[in-house]
Amino acid sequence: MAEFVTVGRADEVAEGEMKVFKIDGYAVAVANVGGTLHAFQDECTHQTCSLGEGDVEGDSVVCLCHNAEFDIRSGEPISGPATVPVPIFEVREENGALQVSL
């Protein structure tokens, strides 16, 4: 399993919000859903728009370019044009640091 990498501070992602972090040039979006953190590939599997610039709706992340909707926990497409799951990653808070494992 890949190691956890600190990408920022956990308080950078407010509840109901998303933020995009770069790990060696690879963009990872982190969402805070009711205090639970979720990390996934920022690039939408439909037409490469940024999911982190999308909207969180319940347990979904919605890409606003073309309304591709993914389950934020599994990365599975739920509705819209995307048919390929978005890769998800482990994420944790460690002494206030936000850490992601690719």
Binding site: L64, N67, T83
Partner: protein, 404 residues
Amino acid sequence: MRRIVIVGASACGSSAAATLRDEGFDGGIVLIGEEPTPPYERPPLSKEYLRGEQTLERAYMRPLDWYGEHDIDTRFGVRATGIDTDAHRVALDRGGEVPYDSLLIATGIRNRQLDVPGAELPGVLGLRTAADADLIRETAQNASRAAVVGMGFIGAEVAASLRAMGVEVTVVEFFETALFRVLGADLGRVVEAIHRAQGVDMRFGEGVEVFEGDERVRSVMTSSGGRIDCDFAVVGVGTIPNAELAQAGGIACDKGVLVDATLRTSDPNVFAAGDVANHDHPLFGRMRVEHFDNAVKMGSTAARNILGAEEVFDDVHWFWSDQYDANLQMAGFAPAYDQVVVRGEFGGSAFSVFFLNGDGAVLQVFGLNRPRDVRRSMPLIRAATRVDPKALADEAVDLRTLVT
């Protein structure tokens, strides 16, 4: 074993097949489509796929293996030629018949052809299928000047892609501005300005009199007597629903295949969905919609209703169009409205417009590079209740908080 037959291996048809399996249906599913390819997204055909930036495989609705894995009997490259609603059979062009217990008609639409001299000349092209897009791309790669006839979504997106490919574009459009029938004059002019800034020459209020050329099209003569020299032409002047199959089978048709709010046709064992389906929408009334998202969602609803769900199709209808760096989105439906509210600067690079009825309810929203506004307005359209117009216009207000 119960067998469900889907005519139309499209976004709609594949969505229906997938939903049937997702819902646990373990009977037979037959998916029949004229094109040799598995179902694919058509939106990229005027954009990423046309410009050669994306393969067709990447636009497949589902990978080719998916159909076998889900025990879908696919008949790609096969045309359904008749429906016998008494015997419950679909006839195929290769001969033979497929029996059904339930039938879904998702035959889509075809391009309206211009009835003018020279319309049959080589180089006068249309866009519906991947093969059409291939021909436009190959032609454009060896050409410098294109005439685009019609500035609806096909014309506008093709014009944008051709400009990106370095082709000079001259547009001939019957109405007074771009996307007039969908967006109206004011928003149409905003789109028109985007194309003008990209160097597209647009001739509005003009029709095509004749396509000229000996072996292939060389120029377009317009109704005012203008001549547009071109190496090829792309025509996007509307569509015709492929309702003949249903009609010949005795199914009620009027501007498409007539379905009720649950997408059932006049025959209780036959459903219709997607572009061909003239459906009875609980908010908007009777309508036929030619957008990708609608096709996918209708396919899903039809599948659930074939399995007995009796679900009303009440989606608020949403679509997008990408032209250059502009992302246009629209949700809802407002053939008439009483009030217009603008969020942001009208005509700027990013703004949204809300169309309200006399009760102050949002009927429709348009966003130029403001997809968040459109997405967050969809619950407002669904709710159909009065919204404070000042709040709609105030960019500091989160639209999600306005849903009551």
